[in-house]
């Protein structure tokens, strides 16, 4: 039997169609499941009241605060470092062995799985530096974990700023730093923000690295030396220990919605950058 190439072509196209939509379907199903099962249990009271009986009743307020503290502090810690590194790599140095080594380091950091960050944070911050299970330990661990993302996206964003802007700035008598601060960074800001948002998403959803460094105390953290629980960790414990499926779905919904929102904002700002320079 001779195979008709046109029919094969059609067949393959249909197959690809099916697979592509199957894949997209998975996303829709995941989000839909969480949405349908979780929406009924979400209300203001759930968001702003304290959990009772290990989370079986009540809300998730302390975990929201724990998540916000973790995310904001780790971003504040990682952003200057990450953007600074990106500026150094793009503006202050030529391709040398040093930059190669630094890039290698960043790549390697990016590839390390989060459980190893957890292992490191646990032994270094929690045990050796005697910070204990605390928000501070979690913040430092997560900051190191998200650093490569921030460096790489910032570097891309800074590289995308046209060289001409720098030339003009220098020709008008600006120093390197003035050029970076007044011309390069403002143009690269949306791209850098995208990287930060992606990192926020990662920090919000992280469990393995957080649970071993920040602990899982359900109390409302009042200082960075307190242990705390993030939404992701709370969800993990609720789901895994079968404490309450309703609360687990509701927490998952809050978690997924906030991450989707963050990613959409990130994507939107990134598109703005792309259209700006093309």
């Amino acid at each position: 039997m001779r195979i008709n190439p046109k029919k094969v072509n059609k067949f393959i196209q249909i197959m690809l169609n099916v697979q592509a939509f199957f894949t997209v379907g998975i996303l829709i199903v995941i989000v839909a499941l969480i949405l349908v099962k979780g929406i009924g249990n979400i209300n203001l009271e759930f968001l702003f009241s304290f959990p009772e009986d290990m989370g079986r009743h009540g809300g998730i307020y302390p975990t929201i605060i724990g998540t916000i503290m973790l995310v904001i502090l780790s971003i504040l810690f990682a952003t200057p470092l990450g953007v600074g590194t990106a500026i150094f790599l793009t503006e202050y140095t030529k391709e040398t062995i040093l930059t190669k080594i630094i890039r290698f380091g960043v790549e390697s950091l990016a590839g390390i799985p989060s459980i190893l960050y957890g292992l490191f944070g646990f032994i270094f911050f929690v045990i050796k530096l005697k910070m204990g299970w605390s928000i501070l330990s979690g913040v430092l661990t997560i900051a190191i974990m998200i650093l490569p993302t921030i460096i790489r996206t910032s570097e891309e964003a800074i590289k995308a700023v046209p060289k001409n802007f720098r030339i003009v700035s220098y020709s008008l008598g600006a120093t390197k730093w003035e050029t970076v601060i007044k011309v390069v960074l403002p143009s690269a800001t949306p791209g850098i923000l995208t990287g930060i948002m992606l990192s926020v998403g990662r920090a919000v959803g992280e469990t393995a690295a957080v649970i071993f460094t920040m602990g899982s105390s359900l109390r409302l953290p009042t200082s960075i030396m307190d242990s705390g629980r993030t939404m992701a960790v709370h969800f993990y414990i609720l789901a895994r220990e079968g404490i309450s499926m309703e609360k687990a779905y509701a927490t998952a919904l809050v978690l997924v919605l906030s991450i989707l929102l963050i990613n959409i904002v990130a994507y939107y700002t990134m598109n703005k950058v792309v259209s700006r320079f093309s």
Binding site: P80, L218, T222, R240, G242
Partner: protein, 270 residues
Amino acid sequence: MLKKIFIIFTTVALVFICSCGLKENRQGKKKHLITIAGSTSVMPFVEKLAEYFMLQKPNFIIDVQGGGSTAGIQACINNTVHLGMSSRKLKEGERLNEIVICYDGISIVVHPSNPINGLSMEQVRAIFSGKIKNWKELGWIDRRIDAITREEGSGTRGSFEELVMKNEEIDDSIMVQDSNGSVKEIVATDPYAIGYISLGLVDKRVKALTIDGVVPTVSSIKTGAYKITRPFLFLSNGEPDDYTSEFIDFVLSKQGQDLLRKEGLIGSYE
């Protein structure tokens, strides 16, 4: 831009200072912090006790963390916590002050739909040592037994090994979960599962088996008929300080013991 960065950095610094300040402040207002860590089996009950205690005495803050019995004992020896929690007896060389807050039975649980109601100690041992792998051997359908144990280092596992397994080892093919809750969750959803959890956690989602014909209940434990029991301990390095003692006294008081009893545990004086 430079200004903005400066402002951000200042804010960070302020946040740090404030948050440290808060901590100072808290101690300044004479709030007493008691840190407790250890067995995850004991933790949920102590959390509940702490919740009640803090309601009555708002000048106390009690921080309850998991970590496992072994970690709790270590933390106590290193003086990093005020109290350790353990769900197993101390080994030789672990010299700490023991306070029995209550007793707990370890019940062997299966899915409610499982027709088997009781096993002998030998059968349980055979299941967990891998000698019996199929429900058919116990008189039910031809289906693999999904046995679940706890992870190495867990106090519940330690007690289970000591009281049930005796000298036999738990087989490698048996599933491992890292908390009472997750063992219970699997048993509650898998009709062919068997596991062991704290008696206090047994509810209608799982069925507790009789062992050698004895139903695990508060009374059967009290009389000593049900053999798989263990103490829940508070541990302190030397005599506990006054504030910690106040909490211990609350736990051992009638109110505290009633709370524990309501959770299915057996009071320390019974």
